[in-house]
């Protein structure tokens, strides 16, 4: 067990090497998310025969194609609904959903809301690059105010969608947001999300130099990755400064994106409750109760 695990060994175990190299652009953060997912799975020693990866449509949704496990590449926005069905048919499977910001909060918003409300035991990894990357850079629901997109050429006038707030309000068991640029916390978070019973959603802020960065003066890959270092802040630090900091410090961090674990609770899930219901009905039947 004290063998040093390297990327090479992980690749051989989990990657579909014939599909590599990826379709992702130079400097895209999606590959890093895949990397973190592999490390988390390795740490947990998940049985790849009993793990299913589901995804919608988009750049993020191409990730399951590179993983050597059962994968379901579904229609735009509906990954979470498909995952509900798979879990219903076989509750022993671990289900990990890769989805994007447009896929999950745009067209798939309704399915996200209800799966979180029902507390279905799945792990959603939502990769947020503030744009619809695969189709060329159209405006996404999570795009910051004032950003440029191909369908918002004069600047975005809509307010962005904070998906973590929504998931928190719906009572999801585990809600977290991280930036792709630092590896350690995401890996730990993915582990926690998978192990958690109930609905877990982990949002990853990921750079998209080609579709988003280029149009918003962040075209240089290194500059774009640095933007995430400068514009994100951990929740604990945010709260501390807001409570004890000077006005100047508060002003500096006011608009930064908060990262961290927003919610970590234990609420019983849908299928747990359903199993109890079925048992109750069987008991009633065996005891000769009213049909």
């Amino acid at each position: 067990m004290s063998e040093v695990r390297t990327a090479d060994k992980l690749n051989k175990k989990y990657l579909r090497e014939e599909m590599w190299p990826t379709i992702f652009c130079n400097g895209c953060g999606h590959g890093a998310v895949l990397d973190y997912a592999f490390w988390a799975i390795e740490e947990l020693d998940l049985d790849m025969d009993k793990t299913v990866f589901v995804s919608g449509i988009g750049c993020s949704s191409r990730l399951p194609g590179y993983i050597n496990a059962d994968g379901l590449h579904t229609t735009h926005g509906r990954a979470i609904a498909f995952a509900t069905g798979i879990k219903a048919a076989n509750p022993d499977l671990n289900i990990i959903i890769f989805t994007g910001d447009g896929d999950c909060s745009g067209i798939g918003g309704n399915h996200l809301i209800h799966a979180a409300r029902r507390n279905i035991d799945v792990t959603v990894i939502m990769i947020n690059n503030f744009t619809y990357g695969m189709t060329g850079g159209q405006l996404a629901p999570t795009a910051p105010l004032g950003s440029i997109a191909t369908t918002a050429p004069y600047g975005n006038i809509e307010h962005p969608f904070d998906i973590c707030e929504l998931a928190k309000a719906l009572g999801a068991n585990y809600v977290a947001r991280w930036s792709v640029t630092h590896p350690y916390q995401p890996i730990k978070s993915i582990k926690e999300g998978i192990q958690k019973k109930g609905f877990s959603i982990i949002e990853f802020l990921s750079p998209c130099p080609t579709a988003y960065g280029r149009r918003n003066k962040l075209g240089d890959i290194k500059k774009h990755w640095k933007w995430y270092d400068d514009n994100t802040i951990l929740i604990e630090d945010y709260n501390k400064i807001m409570k004890y900091g000077t006005d100047e410090e508060k002003e500096k961090i006011k608009n930064k994106i908060q990262c961290g674990v927003f919610q970590d609770i234990e609420k019983s899930g849908f299928f747990e409750q359903y199993e109890k219901l079925v048992e109750r009905l069987q008991e009633k039947r065996i005891n000769g109760g009213k049909k």
Partner: protein
Amino acid sequence: MIEIKDDWCKGCGICIERCPVCALEESDRLNKKGIRPPQLKEKNECNFCRLCELICPDLAITVIPDKEVKKDVKKILLSPIGGK
């Protein structure tokens, strides 16, 4: 000692940028797509923190700790989420 899968590298330069001891630089060799993959500098500062291995979006870097290096390596990183 690092191993690079040359044909997987897309030349984003993030490993070079983010190495905490600036141990990497662009090499002179070219891969099939005309990209120059990274390599360790002459003066090998690498302390096996494995940040490059974790962050490479194309999983192209593998870090192998050198056994005969006389550096004072107090902690061998087995788990990338940090020591226990």
